[in-house]
Every structure is written in structure tokens, then in C-alpha cells.
């Protein structure tokens, strides 16, 4: 029953996107400068039906309707309600439906809220966006239909992968999708702007809020993903340079470059073609990421059950998309003259863009190189953190410095400014005080510390000034402040982290230089849909004699049969004590990993502050329009 509804709703959505393309093309020929009401109506209709199709699938999960194969494969009647709901986007098919919902939502929002008095531009954007919607709907209906039926109807479902049963992960995909699927709207707008030869300043003004919006959600999505990896995967880290993480970072870097460039374009200072390229590239990289994750080329926690036809479809779509947008770009783009004054604000933004492009290339090469090597020569390598840290870390230092100094300069003028001011010396002093405590010897780490402190203090100083002088861009100040803090706390965390690995039996004690760990007891329970083994550990800090009680877990899930290791984390604001335990088969021993991770909460907080700057940008826009 639900399945029929779902398919009907999706078919209507498809029909409306076809109609929207048809009507918009017809409308382009007419002379009046007003978009007719029927286009607005069809767009609303499209949004209603796509949301209905999503709600239908959601209902299927909530009532455990196992006649739908997608519900059968990804849910179980005993699963808690939250995870039944999040199961809707926990599978390939369901998450693709979410994709389409976001494509449609942005098409609708753009039509209704981006009133830019340029009919041709607006209509072309809707046409391109609906091409995207239509293609993805074909993919969904013919290859990955979430509403396919199963007969005979099974009594029970197979269950959702237990490591995905986590509150952070329930909201991670929607956030990330709003981010990178949201970038589709400025992809469409960029192509539309080329064809309709829209005025450059108008284009910048129109896409700016959408870039900020997608950037904000992308940042939050990455943050939640990291938090999940830290708490759930039990490795004690928050960023692993996993190819899948890289797939979310690459669009983020492009979005960051994009909204800096938009600031330049907004003031008619050039970079028009560059902004167009970045807009196209952001969504392209998002689709590349989707291809890597969905095709099964990469192995990771995100890989859904594989089906080669999916990869082939996404690849075909990607090829068509890339080739046609390059063709449109070359056909319609005009050469422009960029006159950048040395040491002007736009000059620094241009340099920022080069940094982002460099980071993008490093991450892209690190992600793709193993795939190429494997395909061409059959050699298997994995590119891990050492490569990224080695190549990226030194470049963070000049980036931090430029982030601090660039904003001090004015638009257009080439007036030089004092760079090493009082704030710098205060920062240097704070650094020396910190160095005295942490005693770090690595030059790059120390330089990163100095310049991240400098950026943080400078931003604080600007924040103070912003209240006196309204001309200071508060969203920039907040984001730069968050970034400075982020790099600072990552460096400190890197310096002060401790990791110890050992085997213990129940009753044993382990004497480390700073800690005494006692394995007190072990208990086993049956909870809902899993069996748990909980270890009871006393950790004594020899220095301050504080005792901590930690209880890491091993969980054995029934549906599907999987083992997961739950870290026990004692978070006392400044530092996390992180304990994981894994069983050594057929023995009394347990493998114990103790990690001390300082300032984890501050790392999360910094990213949150970073993202807040983006929100401010969205609201500022709305007020002015």
C-alpha cells in the first residue's frame, strides 16, 4: 500500500520537473518580464509531492512495513523509534530520496526567495535544477527504488548496521546533504548566468546567501561526522583522512574559496569567470564524492551494499554534467580584465583562493591516486595521515598569517598596513607562556601555535572594534576566530595526547608512569537488540590522586550479527580520558587502550563557532534584500 503511494508521489514529482522545464522554455520566448503564476504553482506542487514521498518511506520505517524491501533490509521491529526514523536515510535508496528532496527544496526556495528581477536568469536556473532533479529521479525509480516490494512479506527485518545507530549519525546525513546537495543551486545558477549573460554584481548578490547556507550546513555536517567517529569508532581520533571524509572536505574547501571570491565579485572587482568555475566545481566535487562513496570503489564505514550499476549511473551522470557545463562555459564566457592592486583586500582573497585550491589538490590527489594506481598497475597503496600532515601542515602557517593580516587591508586601495603590531607581540608572549608548559620542540607545530594564537587574538580585537565601528564584518571575525581556535586546540591536543596499549585480566593492575589502572570486574547483560559485556576499570591519576571509574563496552548485536566496541569516555571539560577494550578470543585477557585527549570539547566548540559566521552571513543578506 505505502509502496504504491510512494511510487505515485515520485512519478508526480518527475512529471512536475518535466513540466517546469517545458513551461520555462516556453516562457523564455515571451516578452514580458514576469514569471507566470503557473510556474510557481508547479514548483510548490513538486515540493509537496517530493516531501510526501519521503514521508511515505518514513512511515514505512516507523510502522515496520516489511513488504518494502528497503525497510526489510534496513530496519527491525525492535529498533528504537529514533533509529527507525533515521533508517529512512540510512540506506543507499533512502538517502538518494533525501538527495532529491533537497534538490527540489532548493529549486523551490530559489524560485520564491531569490527575487532578482531577471526572468531569463531565474528561468534558466530552474531549468538546470530540474534537469538535475529529473535525472536523479530516473536513477531512483529505475535503479534504486526505495519502494520496491517484497513477496512473500517477511515477518522481521534485517536491522540497521549498529555503528549507524547513534544520535549523531541520525542527523549527520541530512546536515551534510543540505550542504553539498544545496550547492546544486549555485551550480544551476552559474550555468544560467552564463547563458542569460546576467550582470556580474547581481549574480554575486544572488548566490551569496546560498553559498553561505550550504557552507554552514556542510561545516556542521562534517563536525557531527567527526564527533560520531570520535565517540563511536573507538579509535580515539576525530579525523582520519579517510577517502569518505575527504569527499566531504573537498566541496567544503571549494565553498570556502567561493564565498570569499563572491565578496570580491560583489564589489565588481573581477573574478567573474573564477566564481562561475568554483560554483560549477563545488557541485561537481559533491557528485564525485557521491560516486566514490556509492560505487563501492572505496571501502569504508559509509559503503552501502554494492551494486556496480549504481556506480555506472552516477559516473555517466557525472560525465554528462561535467562535459556539458564545460561546453557551456567555453561557449558563453567572456574574457575579463582583472586589475588587482597589490596589498588590497581582494589581493589577499585571491591568495586565500590559491590556498584553498592547493588544499583541494592535495586532498584530491591523496584520494584518487590509490584508485588510479590500483586500476593502472594493480598496486595497492593507502594514503594516510602522514602524507596529509606532512604536505598540509607547513601551509597552514602562512594561511593563518594571511587570515590575520588580509582583513586589515582596504578594498581597492594599495595602502600598506602595519603587520607586526601590539597584538602580535601579545600573541608571542602567550605562546612563550604555553611553550614553557608544553615544551614542544617541533618547529612547525610551534609556528602553527604562534600564528593560530595571533589569529585568535586579532579576531578578538576586531570583535571588540566591531561594536564601536559597524563597518567591520562580524561574520568574518567570528569565523576567523573559530578557525584560529580550531587550529590552536588541534595543535595542543596533538602535543599533549597520550596513548597506551596493553593486555589485562579481570583483577589485574597496570602501572603506567602517570596512571594506575585496575581492571575490577566484568559484567554481561542482554539489552534490547544486543548483548553487552561491560568492563569496570578504576583509573588513578598518580599526580592529583583523582580516581576515575570507566566502563568500556563490547556489544554484540543480533540484527545483523555484529560486534562493536564502545569507548568509555570521561570528559571533564578540559580533557577526555578515553578507554576502549576488545576481547582476545578464547582467553581471559582483554586488550585495553587508554588515551588521554586534552581539549576535545574545545575542538568541537571551535568548529561550531566557525560555522556561526556562516549563519550571520545568511541573515545579513536577508535583511538587505
Amino acid at each position: 500500500m505505502l509502496s504504491n503511494f510512494g511510487i505515485t508521489f515520485l512519478s508526480i514529482t518527475f512529471l512536475t520537473s518535466f513540466l517546469l522545464i517545458y513551461l520555462s522554455f516556453n516562457e523564455l520566448k515571451t516578452a514580458n518580464n514576469k514569471i507566470p503564476k503557473k510556474i510557481y504553482n508547479f514548483s510548490s506542487l513538486q515540493l509537496i509531492f517530493t516531501i510526501l514521498s519521503f514521508l511515505t518511506l518514513l512511515a514505512g520505517f516507523v510502522v515496520s512495513d516489511f513488504s518494502m524491501s528497503n525497510v526489510f533490509e534496513n530496519s527491525h521491529s525492535t529498533k528504537p523509534l529514533l533509529y527507525k526514523i533515521s533508517g529512512t536515510w540510512g540506506s543507499h535508496e533512502g538517502s538518494l530520496l533525501l538527495w532529491i528532496n533537497i534538490l527540489v527544496l532548493f529549486s523551490f526556495l530559489f524560485l520564491f526567495y531569490s527575487n532578482n528581477n531577471n526572468k531569463k536568469f531565474q528561468l534558466y536556473t530552474i531549468i538546470f535544477q530540474n534537469f538535475l532533479i529529473g535525472t536523479f529521479l530516473i536513477f531512483l525509480l529505475f535503479n534504486s527504488n526505495p519502494f520496491s516490494l517484497l513477496f512473500p512479506v517477511p515477518n522481521e527485518g534485517l536491522g540497521l548496521n549498529p555503528i549507524l545507530q547513534d544520535p549523531a549519525l541520525a542527523i549527520h546525513p541530512p546536515l551534510l546533504y543540505i550542504g553539498f546537495v544545496g550547492s546544486s543551486i549555485y551550480f544551476s545558477a552559474a550555468l544560467a548566468a552564463l547563458i542569460s549573460k546576467v550582470e556580474t554584481k547581481l549574480f554575486a548578490r544572488v548566490i551569496k546567501p546560498w553559498v553561505s547556507l550550504s557552507w554552514f550546513f556542510q561545516t556542521l555536517g562534517i563536525l557531527v561526522g567527526s564527533v560520531w567517529a570520535y565517540y563511536e569508532l573507538g579509535w580515539g581520533g576525530f579525523w582520519f583522512w579517510d577517502p569518505v571524509e575527504n569527499s566531504s572536505l573537498m566541496p567544503w574547501l571549494l565553498m570556502t574559496a567561493l564565498f570569499h571570491s563572491v565578496l570580491v565579485l560583489e564589489r565588481r572587482l573581477g573574478l567573474y569567470s573564477w566564481v562561475i568555475i568554483l560554483s560549477i566545481l563545488t557541485f561537481t566535487m559533491s557528485v564525485v564524492g557521491t560516486f566514490l562513496v556509492r560505487s563501492g570503489i572505496l571501502n569504508s564505514v559509509h559503503t552501502f551494499a554494492n551494486d556496480p550499476s549504481r556506480g555506472l549511473f552516477i559516473l555517466t551522470f557525472l560525465i554528462l554534467m561535467v562535459f556539458s557545463s564545460i561546453f557551456i562555459f567555453f561557449k558563453y564566457s567572456t574574457t575579463e580584465k582583472n586589475t588587482f592592486k597589490f596589498l588590497s583586500k581582494e589581493f589577499f582573497i585571491l591568495i586565500n583562493n590559491w590556498f584553498m585550491v592547493f588544499f583541494l589538490l592535495v586532498v584530491l590527489i591523496g584520494t584518487m591516486y590509490p584508485i588510479f594506481l590500483d586500476t593502472l598497475f594493480g598496486t595497492k597503496i593507502s594514503v594516510g595521515p602522514p602524507y596529509y600532515n606532512f604536505v598540509l601542515a607547513p601551509f597552514l602557517i602562512p594561511l593563518l598569517f594571511l587570515m590575520t593580516s588580509g582583513p586589515k587591508f582596504n578594498w581597492i586601495s594599495s595602502e600598506s598596513k602595519k603587520i607586526f603590531d601590539l597584538v602580535f607581540f601579545i600573541s608571542l608572549f602567550i605562546f612563550l607562556a604555553i611553550l614553557f608548559i608544553v615544551k614542544e620542540k617541533n618547529l612547525i607545530v610551534n609556528l602553527t601555535l604562534i600564528f593560530s594564537i595571533y589569529l585568535t587574538i586579532q579576531s578578538l580585537n576586531d570583535f571588540y572594534k566591531a561594536f564601536k565601528n559597524k563597518s567591520i564584518n562580524l561574520s568574518r571575525v567570528i569565523s576567523h576566530f573559530g578557525f584560529g581556535l580550531l587550529i590552536f586546540f588541534i595543535s595542543i591536543n596533538h602535543i599533549l595526547s597520550i596513548e597506551k596499549n596493553f593486555n589485562l585480566k579481570v583483577g589485574d593492575e597496570k602501572n603506567l608512569s602517570k596512571f594506575l589502572i585496575k581492571f575490577e570486574n566484568i559484567e554481561s547483560y542482554k539489552i534490547d537488540n544486543y548483548q553487552t559485556i561491560i568492563g569496570d576499570f578504576q583509573i588513578l591519576n598518580k599526580k592529583n590522586l583523582i580516581k576515575k571509574n570507566l566502563k568500556p563496552e563490547i556489544r554484540i548485536y543480533d540484527q545483523p550479527k555484529t560486534m562493536t566496541y564502545e569507548a568509555s569516555i570521561d570528559s571533564n571539560f578540559f580533557s577526555d580520558t578515553y578507554l576502549t577494550m576488545s576481547n582476545v578470543s578464547d582467553s581471559e585477557l582483554f586488550n585495553i587502550k587508554l588515551q588521554i585527549k586534552p581539549f576535545m570539547n574545545f575542538i568541537w566548540l571551535s568548529v561550531f563557532i566557525l560555522s556561526l559566521g556562516g549563519v550571520l552571513n545568511i541573515f545579513k543578506r536577508i535583511k538587505k534584500v
Partner: protein
């Protein structure tokens, strides 16, 4: 000028997309389950003590071979070692040990303490060669028949049940 640029960009992209297309079929080597029933990859392994390498397909033709991946730092390896010693007494079977990401001294100490069940001892100090066997982590053990086909794959330490299973396969 514009046309030339376009052609170059298209050419580069066609190459990239071609590779991605080819890579679609070229995957899952990490999925150990898929290896069972297939012929084993030819891999050159380093001898543990002496210089040089040997090829995994060339040695012990017409005999069952058991590849065991272990390290002295791996607690479950210690646990399964007595079972390897048991198996080493079987005349139809040769055991090749691959010492995985280990220091030579502690590996030697480990064998001195617990005994050496291996007919040949190889090493894979950076873990790169083991990837060809689809090794996720250690201990892992792979049983190869007389024609170099992978018969069985054991992830985790061998227990007595596994030992009996290996014996029955080898003696058939």
C-alpha cells in the same frame, strides 16, 4: 585558442573518467570472503632471516600450505601458537609464517619462547605484501591446496575446532 583549451580539458577528463570506469570492476580485493575458491595471488615475500625473496606459488607444489600472519605484539597470536605447533606435526601440511609489522628481535624472542612451527618464515615489515592476501588484521590464516587454490580463510586466532577442520581437509 579557446578550442585548443577545450580539447585539452576534454582529453584529460576522458582519461580520468576512463580510469574511474575501469575501477568500477576493480574492487573488493579487501573482501576476504571473495578470495576463497580462487587461485592465490603470486606474491614475492622476503625471507625473515636470510637475504632475498621467494615466490608464494613456486614453493611446496603438490602440498597443502598454510599461511599464518602473526606478530609478537599481537596477543591472540600468542594464544593460537600452540595450535600451529600441533598442526606443524602434520606431514601433508607446510606452514609458512609471515611476520607482520614486527621488530626482528621481539619476533625471534617470541619463537624461542613458544617454539617454531614454520617450515618457512617470511617477513612483511611494512604490511604491504599482506594486502595481496586480503589481510585485514592479524592473526589471519589462509589454507592453500595442492594447486594453489585458497581453500579456507581464518580471521582471528585458530582454535581447536579450526585445527581439526584443517586436519580433515589436509588428510582427505
Amino acid at each position: 585558442m579557446k578550442k585548443n583549451k577545450l580539447i585539452i580539458i576534454y582529453a584529460v577528463l576522458i582519461f580520468i573518467f576512463l580510469i574511474l570506469y575501469l575501477s568500477l570492476d576493480n574492487k573488493k580485493i579487501y573482501n576476504t570472503e571473495d578470495l576463497v575458491g580462487k587461485k592465490m595471488n603470486e606474491v614475492d615475500l622476503l625471507y625473515f632471516e636470510s637475504e632475498g625473496t621467494f615466490n608464494t606459488r613456486e614453493i611446496f607444489k603438490n602440498k597443502f600450505v598454510l599461511f599464518n600472519f602473526w606478530a609478537s605484539w599481537c596477543a591472540p597470536c600468542r594464544k593460537e601458537h600452540k595450535n600451529l605447533i600441533r598442526l606443524s606435526k602434520n606431514k601433508n601440511l607446510e606452514i609458512i609464517g609471515v611476520n607482520f609489522k614486527d621488530s626482528p628481535q621481539s619476533a625471534k624472542k617470541f619463537l624461542e619462547e613458544l617454539g617454531n612451527p614454520f617450515s618457512i618464515l617470511a617477513k612483511d615489515p611494512d604490511g604491504k605484501q599482506s594486502i595481496n592476501f586480503g589481510i585485514y588484521g592479524i592473526p589471519e590464516t589462509i589454507l592453500i591446496d595442492k594447486d594453489s587454490n585458497i581453500v579456507k580463510k581464518y580471521v582471528g586466532p585458530l582454535n581447536l575446532k579450526d585445527v581439526n577442520e584443517i586436519r580433515s581437509i589436509v588428510e582427505k
